[in-house]
């Protein structure tokens, strides 16, 4: 994890030069009034990937673009949109990459088959190891 530090060079500490002068989007750093809606927005934001920072969710980033994405998520949730619909909208534009929650698809099925295989192997190993008692 030492290199986590290195990672952070890219992630958290933005070089000064690439800062814009605009104030952040209204809902980038502001919560929705309704706690239930804010909780839904938060749940979604934690699983959308910040596109500028490679390895953080938009809920964990100071990048302006992540702020704009948070603004979009919050305003759409406030307008009554379903979080999964917003995720789908993002994935239509950026592909599977933007979502940290992989769904079963032609490219991702081994991610879900793998653990099942592991479960099978685990059961087999344990079963073989034990003496069958009468």
């Amino acid at each position: 994890m030492r290199a986590l530090a290195g990672l952070l060079l890219v992630l958290a500490a933005l070089p000064l030069a690439a800062q814009d002068a605009m104030p952040p989007a209204p809902y980038a750093y502001r919560q929705l009034e309704d706690p239930a809606l804010e909780a839904r927005a938060q749940g979604l934001m934690e699983t959308l990937r910040c596109l500028k920072c490679q390895s953080q969710s938009i809920a964990d980033s100071d990048a302006p673009m992540a702020g704009d994405m948070r603004h979009q998520v919050r305003t759409r949730i406030a307008a009554g949109e379903d979080p999964e619909a917003i995720r789908e909208w993002m994935m239509e534009r950026y592909g599977d990459y933007v979502s940290y929650a992989p769904v079963v698809s032609r490219t991702t099925w081994p991610l879900f088959a793998g653990p099942l295989v592991l479960l099978g192997i685990a059961a087999l190993l344990i079963w073989r190891r034990f003496r069958r008692s009468a």
Partner: protein
């Protein structure tokens, strides 16, 4: 001169590693006593020389010798001394030198103290250790020379990444390295035992303290790294399932499984091939992690050696060492009998389940971490994050924790569940109580499971002490109890943090208030402050818990100038029941400031739990070492008596 001395020491150490390999190999093969006497001294001198080389590098950084390329690239004369020293390992070349230093020091240590194993196994082990070290020496000397001079000394250094300029992080890497590389000892033991087919309980006992030692450092390293990410990143997250974090978690999982399977091998002379495999896998995970981080193929980690040539070099080393060891394993494991079958209800039965499930968790983490690499080869980019790892991991973690409730209570060989019925009922009552509490408080599915199992495990973990006089309980058992309790404590912290954290984002003027959970926070002032190599805006916040006396907090937004970067320094107010986490953001408009506040109930349990786990490891290690010293004393006395009688 200093740089040249360091480089010379490094070359000599490499030569000794070659000698250690050749002499150890010949001695193990031909039982040649004359060449065999070379092996241990070679390992010791190699360790000393390498430590000397590392000391030279630290000295160069302490003096900020700008004629050395590495110093000029990564240091700066303005930096505080402690960060100058930390700069020695805060870069690719220096950290690789630290890596071989730890590896050769571990080799020297086993050469000095290990007397239990048959000579041939010992020589094969040291030969393996020399072989692995040799590859890393080659890597250092041919493609990552830390002592390279600049043709013209630089006027000033480039500085160190500001995020690394933190006291926690200065000592985090060496800790983690002791863990990563300490596992090389287990690897060499496993290879040595395979080559000589001496997979015995003695082998497990000899290996166990080394694995324990490495595992303690890994535990501390991961715990500290998680806490550092938590307070330094400024968003309150403590684990991101980031590939770099996973790279440190995977060796820990393998080492944890190895510790438990070594116990079975030591006590029951079974799980021989399995233990050997885990010994190989644990260090392999360290190397694979290093490769992933340094080759830059998985994340865009640009700070270290993102250089295809170096990536290729490490990959070749991986192919030789891991591939070689696994090939030997494939060829030899069949002839290492696995040992008898077990009763399902017995200590070893529980340990087998634990081992298999831990290995499965390792498999899930490995799959989730490497899968994006696989799809990228097919031209598709995917992200795998917490929504995958959390539930899929839980499928394996939950049954493992359930077995952990009763496993330590069971006897070796054969037991009846009826005998531990009362303890099991106590544990299940605690699980139920946790379950009801979590549901009453409205926690989500995974946190509810975490609280229930955490509560059950917290109670069940101390049950092995029931009815025993604490003085008489062996240290190793106390260690086990402490470590299991630590897991329960950490689990409760994780569940509580994820279920009950409250967040408050606000834009407030100086003098205004914001509240989060039971806290009232007033922004009293925002002042400019200056550090040795940064300036910052510092907020003065008065935080009062539930109307109590206010605590002063000083979160900062720092700007470093060499290299130019901005970081947020969060401020924490810790109570017994959780932490207030405060961050000062940017100016929202003319007068108002963005502040971010979190109330995280019982979040500190995560790291206290981690430390308890490490403490448990330490107790077990002390117990094992003491037992070993006693046994040596007894055998020596017996030998002396026999001699006297003769």
């Amino acid at each position: 001169m200093i740089a040249e001395l360091g480089l010379a020491a490094l070359w000599m150490a490499a030569a000794l590693a070659a000698l250690q390999l050749a002499a150890g190999f010949l001695a193990a093969r031909q039982d040649d006593a004359e060449i065999a006497i070379l092996v241990r001294p070679a390992a010791v001198v190699q360790g000393v020389l390498c430590a000397f080389a590392f000391a030279m590098l630290v000295w160069l950084f302490a003096r900020t010798d700008l004629s050395v390329k590495l110093v000029a690239m990564n240091s700066h004369s303005d930096k505080p001394l402690v960060f100058k020293l930390a700069g020695a390992w805060g870069n690719h070349e220096g950290s690789m030198l630290l890596w071989v230093t730890v590896m050769s020091a571990a080799g020297a240590l086993i050469a000095l103290v290990e007397r239990r194993l048959p000579d041939r196994t010992m020589q094969a082990t040291l030969a393996a250790q020399g072989f692995v070290a040799l590859g890393f020496y080659a890597f250092l000397l041919f493609s990552s020379n830390p002592f390279e001079r600049l043709p013209i000394p630089a006027l000033e250094g480039n500085g160190l990444n500001p995020l690394l300029q933190d006291i926690g992080l200065a000592f985090h890497p060496p800790t983690l390295y002791l863990g990563y590389v300490g596992l090389s000892v287990a690897f060499s033991f496993a290879v040595g035992a395979l080559l000589t087919r001496q997979v015995t309980p003695d082998f497990a006992r000899a290996m166990r303290p080394w694995v324990l030692g490495a595992w303690i450092f890994l535990t501390v390293g991961i715990t500290a790294g998680s806490y550092w990410a938590y307070y330094e990143l400024g968003w309150g997250g403590w684990w991101f399932w980031d590939p770099v974090e996973n790279a440190s978690l995977m060796p820990w999982l393998a080492a944890t499984a190895l510790l438990h399977s070594a116990s079975v091998l030591a006590a029951r002379d079974a799980l021989r091939a399995w233990t050997i495999m885990l010994g190989v896998v644990a260090f392999s995970m360290s190397m694979v992690g290093t490769f992933l981080v340094r080759s830059g193929i998985l994340t865009s980690v640009h700070a270290f050696a993102v250089d295809p040539e170096r990536g290729t070099f490490i990959l070749v080393l991986l192919a030789i060492y891991i591939g070689g060891a696994l090939a030997v394993f494939g060829l030899r494991a069949g002839s290492v009998a696995e040992g008898g079958k077990f009763e399902a209800v017995s200590r070893e039965g529980a340990l087998v389940i634990n081992n298999v499930l831990l290995s499965a968790i390792l498999g899930v983490v490995l799959l989730g971490t490497l899968y994006p690499l696989l799809t990228e080869a097919m031209g598709v980019r995917v992200s795998v994050g917490p929504p995958y790892f959390d539930p899929v991991g839980a499928i394996f973690v939950v049954p493992m924790l359930l077995v952990m409730l009763v496993g330590p209570l069971l006897r070796w060989r054969q037991d009846r569940l009826a005998r531990v019925r009362r303890s099991a009922i106590i544990g299940m009552v605690a699980v139920l109580a946790g379950l009801l509490l979590a549901i009453a408080l409205g926690a989500g599915v995974l946190p509810t499971l975490g609280i229930a199992l955490g509560a059950g495990l917290a109670v069940a973990s101390v049950l092995p002490l029931k009815g025993r006089r604490l003085r008489r309980v062996p240290l190793a058992t106390r260690g086990m109890v402490t470590a299991h309790l630590g897991i329960a404590v950490a689990l409760l912290g994780m569940a509580s943090e994820s279920a009950f954290s409250e967040e408050r984002l606000a834009a407030i003027k100086v003098g205004q208030q914001a509240s989060v959970g039971p806290w009232q926070v007033t922004l009293a002032a925002v002042d400019p402050v200056a550090g040795p190599n940064w300036t910052a805006l510092e907020g003065v916040m008065l935080a009062s818990y539930d109307g109590g006396a206010p605590i002063e907090l000083h979160p900062q937004a720092r700007s470093f100038w060499s290299p130019p970067q901005e970081t947020t320094e969060s401020a924490l107010a810790t109570r017994w029941n959780g932490q207030l986490y405060a961050v000062l953001g940017k100016a929202a408009d003319g007068e108002r400031w963005q502040v971010r506040l979190w109330w995280k109930p019982f979040v500190t349990l995560i790291w206290y739990g981690g430390l308890l786990v490490a403490l448990g490891g330490l107790l077990a290690l002390l117990g094992r070492v003491r037992d070993d010293l006693r046994r040596r004393y007894v055998t020596r006395k017996a030998a002396e008596r026999r001699e006297a009688a003769a």
